[in-house]
């Protein structure tokens, strides 16, 4: 058995290291898919809309070329893990009271470029979630931070065009809520970019069906979800 000369051995070692580096670089350069994250918070019922994440994921896959993970994840609002996701969905029916850690995390997350979509699952103008969630947002971001979004906002043209602003939901006029169409969404803007999108139109109920049943709809009502995701990822 002949022993490999030291020079050839070092060349082989260098080649292996180079190949490893190339593979690591390729892995790093490969686009990481978008992961739909649902925020979990201590108060209230954060998991009230279990079908929304997959429905939006499906819509993103249907309409865009954005790489998207097939499953959503849940992430604690108080956890540093929150900062791994550029988009977070938060919903519920019940009164919301963010803990100190949750508040601080949410503020830092938004100020560092994160996007939070908060949807009132109650669709009431003065429902418990609406009153407490908006109060919490004002407490965290300042009294004047939460403002109505004009219907000409870029969000409504981010992918699909919604010239009349946010699409109305069937839950706004079903007699169970307040029977009023909420004309505007609210938002908190940081550095000229929307960081918090707040809705009490109850998209959580509107999109709360299995994505396979989307084929029965003449117009896909999750298209606005695509706009929200595209805005969050591209602005």
């Amino acid at each position: 058995m002949t022993k490999r000369p030291p020079r050839r051995r070092s060349i082989g070692l260098a080649a292996a290291v180079a190949a490893g580096l190339l593979l690591c670089t390729a892995a790093a350069l490969r686009p990481r898919p978008f992961v739909f994250a649902t925020a979990r918070y201590d108060s209230g019922d954060w998991s009230s809309a279990p079908l929304v994440p997959t429905n939006v994921i499906h819509a993103v896959a249907q309409y865009t070329s954005i790489p998207v993970a097939p499953n959503g994840v849940t992430v604690d609002l108080a956890s540093p893990e929150l900062f791994r996701f550029p988009f977070v969905y938060l919903t519920g029916h019940l009164p919301v009271r963010f803990s100190q850690q949750e508040s601080a995390n949410l503020k830092a997350y938004v100020e560092r470029g994160g996007f939070v979509f908060i949807d009132d699952h109650n669709h009431d103008v003065d429902g418990a979630f609406h009153k407490t969630a908006t109060a919490e947002l004002r407490r965290i971001f300042g009294a004047a931070a939460l403002r109505e979004l004009p219907n000409s906002h870029e969000l409504y043209r981010a992918f699909f065009t919604f010239p009349d602003g946010p699409p109305a939901t069937s839950h706004e006029l079903n007699g169970w809520g307040d029977n009023l169409v909420h004309e505007h969404l609210l938002g908190v803007e940081v550095n000229g970019r929307l960081g918090v999108l707040y809705s009490n139109k109850d998209y959580s109920s509107e999109w709360g069906y299995h994505y396979r049943n989307k084929r029965f709809q003449s117009v896909d009502n999750t298209r606005f979800g695509v706009n929200i995701v595209v805005y969050a990822l591209t602005r």
């Binding site: 998991s47 097939p70 004002r138 805005y231």
Partner: protein
């Protein structure tokens, strides 16, 4: 025969002897020149001296404007008078003998020969003595030269003139503002009055109280609504809000103060309007545009804004007509296409109904043989009264050649007469008239005149009923009583249906058939949690899907609502009669009943309190009753690859992917309000007022725009101008509260202040800097 006596002309004096005539002529010429030159020197001296004296007198003892109006001409009159008098004297000099005497006085060499020769020549020139004396005088006077007869004597007038100018110049240099003011007061005495004079003295002389520039006096306006409304012009004044329909002609006027140079009027967010002046008033006129928010007024004095005022304009809405199809009262299914169906409708509008007719469509067949026709029918009889109209048309079904299966949709369409922003159109509910097919005769009850009662419209919520009642109450003053009764009866009908539903709830609860007991399951998503319930936190519930879990959920529901027991819910009491009556629901039922009763009596105002209480009660019940059981939902992962590209993106926006537009924020306006408040204690009243006016203009446009806040700021400006700074600050606080109802200290940094007034402002804000 009459004899006419004619006055003979006076005999001309004999010509003077040569040396006498020459001397007298030269004296006369010297006197004329002297008189004219002295007059030209005395006139400006007199003018300047009298002007300086008048200004000085006015400075020490301020005169009334009317006195200055008269006295300002005195210097000019004196100056011109002197010149004119001199001219008159030159043109008509005294008799020649006085010049002869003057020459004798000033020329000693004459030794009375000149006067003697003059007297002899005009007396008896032909006497022997006279001829001898004249001959001697001619010889002696021939060599005498005339000089120094009439000296100019310009020293005194020139001294007066120079002194006057020196005094005026010194005053102007020492007190330029006072000099400018004096110039204005005397050149334009109407524009000057005592207050302004005191203000100038306060600025230039110590120990004289300052008086402010006059602010805008009470505003008065006249609003002429557009012609289509048929309304007459209305007038308002003072602090009343200026309200106008779009298209109205608005004329705004007030007093014009003499100290102002001009008044400017600028549309908020628009251009400048021409301002007219006459008889001590200014006025501006414009046509109110739909989006216009108000007018900013500026009084200009000496090139600067002496006063500002913002006049917010509230544009009144012209609502679309209310249209109601009163007959047929419900949709019809008819057995045959014969007979007549009366279609009646009524419409009411704020300012009168314009076009009013019926829109119809007819559908026939299906599939490829589907036919669709549509058109408009005028009413056969149309009655107009007040601001309403009602019409009727009888449909002859036989003449319409309808076939079994045909469906007629008919609805009333009304437009108002608004020709300013375009007529607003409203439509009534659509009634459907369907001709039954033979094969469905056994399925539906059909008959001409006895139609099948189809399901009514969905129940209206209590909130919607309240809104409709409030609107009816607002309209009651201008709609006919018949229409009031009809609309009230319709709301009462809907209220009755909702009340009946509440009655069903009471019964259903008592019999325990309300809650579906098969609530079970839980939700798990990857990384997620399960079992979230309104009543109990996660982790304390038994395993989902178990009977125990369901019972706990229902127990929680019973505890939350205070109603029923688990036995009732699980139908273990079916044989029981009503077990209990929910007092809250019963109260709700009675409130609805009371509201319904008032509406049936066409008293919407009396119904409103009951409806409001009912709505509050519903909200309380709803909050107490809502239960959100979570379920375990196994969510399949999305097959991204198969879904990719399956969506239709036809409506995807080709719009640019530019960054989002910044949200409007009122922070800048709030910061400016705080800044002005912080300096309010150290600012002069006029400066404070001007800054408040500027804030009012900003509050009418841009982020945080609020017409009511602008009105408050405008009032604050008036109060500040009047020296009531405390009132102005209170109004400023109210305006700020309107713009930012719950502004926090973190909204923006507050300016620091040592001013106690500003500190009080912050204390009231609850935000000590």
């Amino acid at each position: 025969m009459r004899t006419a006596l004619r006055r003979l002309p006076a005999p001309s004096p004999p010509p003077l002897p040569t040396p006498v005539g020459r001397i007298v002529a030269r004296v006369l010429e010297a006197w004329r020149i002297s008189t004219l030159v002295r007059a030209l020197a005395v006139a400006p001296a007199l003018l300047a001296a009298s002007a300086v004296l008048l200004v000085a007198a006015d400075l020490l003892f301020p005169m009334r404007a009317v006195a200055r109006e008269v006295l300002r001409w005195l210097p000019l009159v004196l100056g011109i008078g002197v010149v004119l008098y001199a001219g008159w004297r030159v043109a008509y000099p005294p008799e020649l003998r006085r010049f002869v005497l003057l020459a004798e006085e000033r020329i000693p060499e004459l030794e009375n020969r000149l006067i003697t020769a003059f007297d002899v020549s005009v007396g008896d020139p032909d006497s022997l003595v006279a001829r001898a004396f004249v001959a001697d005088a001619e010889r002696r006077l021939a060599g005498i030269e005339v000089h120094g007869v009439s000296p100019l004597r310009l020293g005194a007038p020139l001294l007066v003139l120079v002194t006057s100018w020196a005094v005026a110049l010194a005053f102007a240099l020492a007190f330029p503002t006072a000099a400018r003011e004096a110039w204005g007061r005397w050149i334009h005495p109407r524009d000057a009055y005592e207050q302004r004079w005191r203000e100038v003295r306060a600025n230039t002389l110590p120990a004289v109280a300052e008086t402010p520039m006059p602010a805008f006096d009470e505003l008065r306006w006249r609003v002429s609504p557009p012609a289509y409304t048929g309304l007459g012009a209305s007038e308002g004044r003072g602090e009343e809000p200026l309200q106008a329909l779009a298209g109205s002609r608005v004329r705004l006027r007030s007093a014009f103060f003499d100290r102002w140079d001009a008044v400017r009027a600028i549309r908020i967010g628009g251009g400048e309007l021409p301002v007219h002046r006459a008889r001590g008033e200014w006025w501006v006129e414009w046509t109110q545009a739909p989006g216009e928010r108000g007018i900013a007024l500026e009084a200009m004095a000496h090139g600067d804004a002496a006063a500002r005022r913002v006049v917010p304009v509230i544009v009144l809405p012209d609502r679309a007509p209310d249209v109601e199809l009163t007959a047929p009262a419900q949709d019809l299914v008819l057995a045959s296409a014969s007979g007549r169906v009366a279609v009646r409708a009524m419409a009411a509008d704020d300012y009168g109904v314009g076009d009013f007719d019926l829109a119809w469509s007819r559908t026939r067949g299906s599939g490829e043989s589907f036919q669709y026709l549509e058109g408009r029918w005028p009413f056969a009889s149309l009655r107009r009264g007040g601001n309403g109209a009602s019409g009727e048309r009888v449909l002859d079904l036989a003449a319409m050649q309808l076939e079994p299966g045909d469906v007629i949709h008919v609805r009333a369409v009304a437009r108002d007469r608004n020709n300013v922003t375009g007529p607003a159109e409203s439509v009534s509910r659509t009634r459907v008239i369907r001709i039954a097919r033979p094969e469905e005769m056994d399925q539906v009850n059909t008959d001409v005149g006895f139609p099948l009662e189809l399901p009514k419209d969905p129940l209206l919520s209590q909130r919607m009923l309240l809104i409709r009642t409030e609107r009816l109450n607002a309209d009651r003053a201008r709609i006919p009583s018949a229409q009031l009764r009809a609309r009230a009866a319709e709301i009462a009908s809907d209220q009755e249906r909702l009340r009946e539903r509440v009655g069903e709830q009471i019964f259903t609860r008592a019999t325990g058939a309300m809650q579906d007991p098969n609530v079970e399951g839980g939700f798990t998503e990857e990384g997620g949690a399960a079992h979230h319930d309104a009543a109990q936190p996660a982790g304390q519930l038994p395993a989902a899907g178990t009977r125990e879990f369901s019972q706990q959920v229902l127990d929680a529901a019973s505890a939350a609502t205070g109603q029923g027991t688990i036995d009732e819910v699980t139908h273990r009491h079916d044989a029981d009669p009503i077990l209990s009556v929910d007092q809250q629901l019963l109260r709700l039922y009675n409130l609805m009943w009371a509201a319904e009763r008032e509406l049936n009596q066409a008293a919407p105002d009396a119904a409103l309190p009951h409806q409001r209480q009912a709505l509050l009660l519903i909200d309380e019940l709803r909050k107490a009753e809502r239960l959100y059981p979570s379920v375990n939902v196994r969510v399949d992962a999305v097959n991204v690859d198969s879904a990719r590209g399956q969506g239709k993106v036809d409506e995807a926006g080709p719009a640019s992917r530019a960054g989002g537009r910044a949200l409007p924020t009122a922070d800048a306006l709030l910061a400016e309000i705080d800044r002005v408040a912080a300096r309010s204690g150290t600012m002069a009243a006029r400066a404070f007022s001007l800054q408040l006016s500027a804030l009012a203009a900003r509050a009418l446009g841009g982020p945080g725009a609020d017409a009511q806040a602008a009105a408050l700021l405008s009032r604050a400006a008036g109060e500040a101008q009047a020296g009531r700074a405390d009132v102005a600050r209170a109004l400023l606080l109210r305006a700020r509260a309107r713009i930012a109802p719950a502004a926090s200290t973190r909204a923006h940094a507050l300016p620091s202040t040592a001013d106690p007034a500003a500190a009080e402002y912050y204390r009231r804000l609850g935000r000590m800097p």
